[in-house]
């Protein structure tokens, strides 16, 4: 079954993962900029990372017939250093014209600090100035509820931001409703322990509907599964969801949101 992986950190994965994803039906993979697992020492580290996302990784994906797209930003875990963030944000415009760039992301909050919030506002400004789509990371575990509320306040208060051009990722049962009620898209991340399991993600679909929502693996260097989306599609089938309902969630919905970027083009 064809699907789009709308959130995966492929720089952390092996070529075997690309092959397995292609075999499972993946047609395109979208890679938000994120934390490397350690803080980069200068803006030069980000310059190299953005080059990796826009030059090297698409070539690696193409070897397996996969289209590769990316999002650019400084992530919230490195946003406590506002001076570094300003330097990184100044770097981003020169990469926005590259053909696989979808927008600004994954911006957001981590520990919900004042500096993280300031850097979030700076990156929302960047997205508005360059008319870019926005992909938002919401905080982990106990910080998610508060962080989601703070993020939604920032986005709703900026009248230049169209809600339908924003995806709020990593929603769970306590945050999905407030995101959808704002007219923004919601992303569910399928993690073995810390976010949604396949069963819970399907519960959310059955409770809140299938509009403006997608699923992703967010596979990275941590405990995660690059095949989480097709495995959840299989779980949906066990739960009695038909083929068209499954295709809507794993292919049509991400396609509908992402094609708001002129750069999102699938193969023939």
């Amino acid at each position: 079954m064809k699907y789009i992986e709308p959130h995966a950190h492929m720089v952390s994965r092996t070529t075997d993962d690309y092959e397995r994803m292609a075999l499972a039906g993946c047609e395109a993979v979208c890679e938000p900029a994120f934390w490397a697992g350690f803080d980069r020492s200068s803006v030069n580290g980000f310059n190299d990372y953005f080059s990796q996302l826009t030059e090297h990784e698409p070539k690696r994906a193409a070897k397996f017939g996969l289209k590769h797209f990316c999002w650019l930003c400084i992530n919230s875990k490195e946003a406590e250093d506002v001076k570094l963030a300003e330097e990184v944000i100044a770097l981003i415009p020169k990469f926005l014209g590259r053909e696989n760039v979808l927008g600004i992301g994954e911006i957001g909050l981590n520990k919900n600090s004042r500096n993280e919030l300031r850097v979030l506002e700076m990156q929302v400004e960047l997205a508005a100035k360059f008319n870019q789509l926005i992909l938002v990371h919401t905080p982990h575990l106990e910080d998610k509820l508060k962080g989601t509320r703070l993020i939604l306040d920032v986005l709703k208060n900026d009248k230049r931001i169209q809600p339908g051009r924003v995806i709020i990722d990593h929603v769970e049962e306590h945050t999905v409703e407030m995101v959808l009620d704002c007219g923004m898209w919601a992303g569910m991340t399928l993690y073995p322990q810390t976010k949604c399991t396949p069963a819970r993600a399907i519960d959310i679909l059955e409770t809140y509907g299938r509009e403006n929502i997608w699923m992703n693996s967010a596979c990275d260097w941590g405990v995660s599964d690059p095949l989480a989306v097709p495995k959840t599609a299989l779980e949906m089938r066990k739960r009695g969801h038909g083929g068209s309902a499954i295709e809507k969630i794993i292919f049509q919905n991400p396609k509908k949101f992402l094609k708001q970027s002129k750069n999102f083009k699938l193969g023939s």
């Binding site: 875990k77 919900n112 500096n115 575990l141 910080d143 998610k144 509820l145 066990k238």
Partner: protein, 86 residues
């Protein structure tokens, strides 16, 4: 799906997770030392499973969440613990 079908699909897995939680609580209580905020929040969240209340998953997540609204002054760590000291 019918309730019977849901039970057929998920009962054994839920039973397994229920026993894991029971064994975890026994393990914590066998160990020397004091409770911390995480296990206190965990016990409070368990109470949300009781009775006929709906939205149990949402209510458990809310019990384990930071319910304050103001940004913190500075992020001094990157990780999360899974519960918030109340």
């Amino acid at each position: 799906m019918t309730r019977q079908q849901i039970l057929d699909l998920y009962f054994l897995d839920a039973r397994h997770q229920l026993i894991e939680i029971a064994a975890f609580l026994d393990r914590v209580e066998r160990a020397e030392g004091k409770d911390d905020f995480r296990i206190k929040s965990f016990r409070a969240a368990l109470a949300k499973l009781d009775g006929k209340k709906k939205n149990r998953a949402k209510n458990v997540l809310l019990t384990l969440s930071d319910l304050t609204t103001a940004p913190i002054a500075k992020a001094t760590a990157k990780g999360a613990t899974g519960a918030y000291p109340k």
